[in-house]
């Protein structure tokens, strides 16, 4: 259903209206029809009564006329015996009810006989001249209209002509009192509420069933209300009491008089009105009662619906429903009961669920208890195992914690089965990489330092070996190792694996080497100092002597041979002097006096004096000097480094070549490269070793000195050389004015490659 929803009450009210209104209308129609029928029958009754009354009235007149005709035909009138006729009339009056008088007039109008007076007594003048003349004129019967009589009030009468030889001889009149026609109405026995009346043809009241003679002779309202020539009809008017009434009239055909029946309007209209009112009242009452019922019903239904909603909500929330209230509507009650049943079912199912859960819980508890018991037992076992495992783990941990490399590998293949953390630390390979690999492939040995064959023989013979090895780590570093090998045997006592316990003694070896070297250098230094001092003085004496001799002889004209000898002597002394200078420089402790400086400036300073030398030897100087950050350095010493390296480079190119000086910033390092295009350094020569030289006149002091100076700066020096193509020395110095590198940091020796010999000092 579309549109705005309306309340149940409104629906019920509409239903009520739709039911009650047509019923009421139909009932009204029925009642109206019935009332109209009633009215019609009442009217018919009234009309019938009227007709009967009119007939009775005419019959009264006709009987009076008949009685008069009997008198008129009397012989007594032929013979004029009026006395006898008077007596006849008297007898006739006695027989005719209501006859008051009988008169006899001559056509001249003279009354010759009247019963109201004794015979022969003076006669009253004639009444109703109009009807008298009509009789004379028509020679027929005429009705004497209501007139006031001389003695007894209102009267009327009938006149007939007494014809003799078709001539009116006399006119005979019967005077009748109005009460006679009133009696006609009395004979009809009209209902009490009806008012009957007889009017003459001039609409004057002759008789009425009520009020006696009070209104006789008065003209009635019929003259105004009824159509002039109507024989029968009805009209509505107010009667003399002022009450609304209906008047039904009929004209008697013979006499032309009117019979009128007056009934109260209520008699005809009342039933219709009352019935209508009653029907409407009943309809309204039905509507009212129905509305009340609808309101009550809708309220109770609403209450039921609210109850259902509450139930539904309770059901939705799984609340328990204990009581239900039944409403007035069966269907709603059905829903309520259904919800109640659903709630009960839900509760039952929940109860079942609870029971099931409880059972489950019990089972669970039981199981838990079992599990707890079992767990306790297991825990006990586990505790025992844990103690054992802890012991094992501690052992394993100790293996892992050991700084020594512990490796187990197969005897034949050298496949690694165990590799501890110490091994990873020393060699760089982690456990995953190492396990399964072949040891001699993973860790290459320097063949000269690692006589594998001998070792394996020793192991095969004695079941163990102990000694030093040089192996290459993951990063290519050569490691000096102290290794102890033991054969592991299987259950049958067959050798299957080798256990290697290895310590890294590279640093120790290096330190030892350095200490030896330093000790040696110190000795050399002392020796050099003594030598320099002891040589210096005599040499000085000789030198000055030669200078003096040359000076003194120069003034003389000497043999050129002597001069030449002097020159050569001086030259030799200079050579010794240079050597002495180098010795001195080397012998001095190389303590750098560090101050902020710029490397590129130093290079330029040093290079200027070299230009002439280079030109002489046909060497081009190539400068690729990129700016580097300022650094802390000892200017004199670094100058000496550059001079020494340049000198070496120049001396390496006796037939010319290119001397390249290159600087660049690399991270926080200033890098200086000095390259020559000379013969290169033969393989296997450690040029940094004291007294090692490739030059005919070299002292073997220059490059060791250079290395000492660079080391004193916390820098590094290395070289690459390609025989026949040249050598490049590469010096790295830390830039920045604050970070001094600890010059005592541990060095590492780098491996050599076939093509290039590379030596690095950190």
């Amino acid at each position: 259903m579309r549109g705005k929803p309306i309340s149940l009450g409104a629906y019920l009210f509409i239903l009520l209206m739709c039911t009650v209104t047509p019923i009421t209308l139909f009932a009204s129609w029925l009642v109206m029809n019935f009332a109209k029928g009633e009215r019609r029958s009442t009217e018919a009754g009234l009309k019938d009564t009227n007709r009967a009354l009119a007939t009775a009235l005419d019959r009264e007149f006709e009987s009076s006329i008949a009685a008069l005709n009997v008198l008129a035909t009397s012989n007594l009138l032929d013979n004029g015996d009026l006395r006898q006729f008077y007596a006849l009339c008297e007898r006739a009056r006695a027989t005719q009810a209501g006859w008051e008088n009988i008169t006899l007039q001559e056509p001249s109008g003279k009354t010759i006989l009247t019963l109201s007076a004794p015979f022969g007594k003076p006669i009253h003048p004639i009444f109703g001249k109009e009807s008298f003349e009509k009789v004379l004129r028509t020679k027929d019967v005429a009705i004497l209209e209501l007139v006031r009589g001389s003695t007894s009030g209102w009267i009327f009468g009938v006149r007939i002509p007494v014809l003799r030889a078709d001539e009116v001889k006399y006119v005979l009149t019967a005077i009748i009192e109005p009460g006679r026609v009133g009696a006609i109405m009395g004979e009809q026995k009209l209902p009490g509420s009806w008012l009957g009346g007889i009017l003459d043809h001039k609409h004057r009241l002759v008789a009425s069933t009520r009020s006696g003679n009070k209104f006789i002779g008065q003209r009635t309202m019929m003259a105004n209300d009824a159509p002039a020539n109507a024989i029968e009809g009805s009209f509505r008017n107010h009667n003399r009491d002022g009450a609304l009434s209906y008047s039904f009239f009929r004209r008697a055909p013979f006499s032309g008089w009117f019979v009128v029946l007056n009934v109260p309007a209520d008699l005809l209209d009342g039933p219709v009105k009352r019935s209508l009112i009653r029907v409407i009242m009943v309809g309204l009452c039905a509507l009212l009662l129905g509305s009340l019922f609808a309101i009550i019903m809708s309220r109770r239904i609403n209450a039921s619906v609210a109850g259902i909603r509450t139930l539904a909500q309770a059901l939705g929330l799984k609340q328990e429903i204990n009581t239900i209230e039944k409403g007035p509507v069966f269907e709603l009650n059905t829903i309520t009961e259904a919800l109640y049943d659903a709630s009960k079912l839900l509760q039952v199912s929940e109860a079942k669920q609870r029971t099931a859960e409880e059972q489950l819980r019990e089972v669970n508890n039981h199981l838990e208890q079992r599990v707890a018991e079992r767990t306790a037992a297991l825990e006990d076992e586990i505790r025992k195992k844990q103690t054992l495992e802890n012991a094992l783990r501690n052992q394993a941990l100790l293996l892992q914690l050991a700084h020594d490399a512990i490796i187990v590998r197969s005897l034949e293949e050298g496949q690694i089965h165990f590799w501890n953390h110490g091994a990873t630390e020393i060699y760089g390979w982690n456990t995953d990489e190492a396990i399964g690999a072949r040891i001699h492939e993973l860790l290459r040995c320097r063949s000269s330092a690692c006589p594998l064959k001998e070792i394996e023989e020793a192991v095969a013979r004695h079941g163990r070996w102990e000694g030093e090895l040089v192996r290459t780590g993951k990063d290519g570093t050569e490691l000096v190792l102290d290794s102890r090998w033991s054969v592991l045997k299987d259950s049958q006592g067959r050798p299957v694996e080798i256990l290697e316990l290895t310590s890294d003694i590279t640093a120790r070896k290096y330190a030892e080497q350095r200490a030896q070297e330093n000790e040696w250098l110190a000795g050399v230094g002392t020796m050099t100092a003594i030598f320099a001092h002891e040589i210096g003085n005599p040499l000085h004496a000789i030198s000055t002597s030669l200078d003096l001799v040359e000076r003194q002889l120069g003034k003389l004209r000497l043999d050129s041979r002597i001069k030449k000898t002097l020159e050569l002597s001086t030259h030799e002394i200079q050579r010794v002097s240079t050597l002495l200078t180098e010795f001195r420089a080397f012998a001095r402790p190389q303590k750098a006096n560090l101050k902020p400086g710029q490397l590129v400036d130093l290079i330029n300073d040093v290079l200027v004096p070299q230009i002439a030398v280079c030109r002489k030897s046909g060497i081009a100087i190539k400068r690729e000097l990129a700016w580097v950050q300022p650094l802390l350095l000892d200017e004199d010493k670094i100058k000496q480094v550059i001079v020494n390296l340049c000198k070496n480079a120049i001396e390496a190119m006796p037939d010319g070549g290119v001397l390249t000086l290159k600087t660049q910033q690399s991270g926080d390092l200033a890098v200086l490269e000095i390259s020559d295009t000379g013969a290169g350094i033969p393989e296997g020569v450690d040029v940094f070793r004291l007294f090692t030289t490739t030059k005919s006149n070299g002292t073997g002091l220059g490059l060791p000195l250079v290395r000492q100076i660079v080391n004193a700066h916390g820098g590094s020096i290395q070289y690459t050389t390609q025989p026949g193509h040249g050598t490049t020395f590469r010096i790295c110095l830390r830039t920045g004015l604050t970070n001094l590198v600890d010059p005592s940091s541990q060095p590492r020796v780098q491996s050599t490659t076939a093509a290039e010999t590379e030596k690095m000092e950190a």
Binding site: G536, N537, T544, D547, L548, L580, N593
Partner: protein, 122 residues
């Protein structure tokens, strides 16, 4: 007035050679091999230049003499000659603003260092 040089050298041959060589260039050279005597001489006579060996086999060494000489004649020049110097000695010489030379030296080089020498007002 010729430039007055005090030459202190305990190696006799060297001292005589140097003195003779310098005198041949017109310098007035006072020579001695004793450091203590040299101190006295500096005390008594104003020298334009003091040339001294470092090690003198006595209580004072060449640096002490040059320091003393600087005190007496702040504007005078000094030359320190040694057969075995050290960085410290070199630094001390620099701090006294004297020339540092290592043996053997070429005397022509020494003369070049002395010439021109600022003349002291007598």
């Amino acid at each position: 007035m010729p430039v007055g040089i005090l030459l202190i050298e305990n190696h006799d041959l060297s001292r005589r050679n140097m003195a003779a060589y310098l005198e041949s260039f017109g310098y007035s050279v006072t020579e001695t091999g004793d450091g203590e005597e040299a101190v006295k001489l500096i005390q008594d006579i104003k020298y334009d230049v003091v040339i001294t060996d470092l090690q003198l086999d006595c209580m004072v060494n060449g640096l002490d003499i040059l320091a003393h000489h600087k005190k007496v004649s702040p504007e005078a020049r000094g030359i320190l000659i040694t057969a075995f110097g050290s960085t410290e000695v070199k630094e001390q010489a620099a701090s006294l603003n004297v020339i540092y030379l290592e043996k053997p030296i070429q005397l022509s080089q020494l003369v070049a260092l002395l010439n021109p020498v600022p003349q002291l007002d007598s």
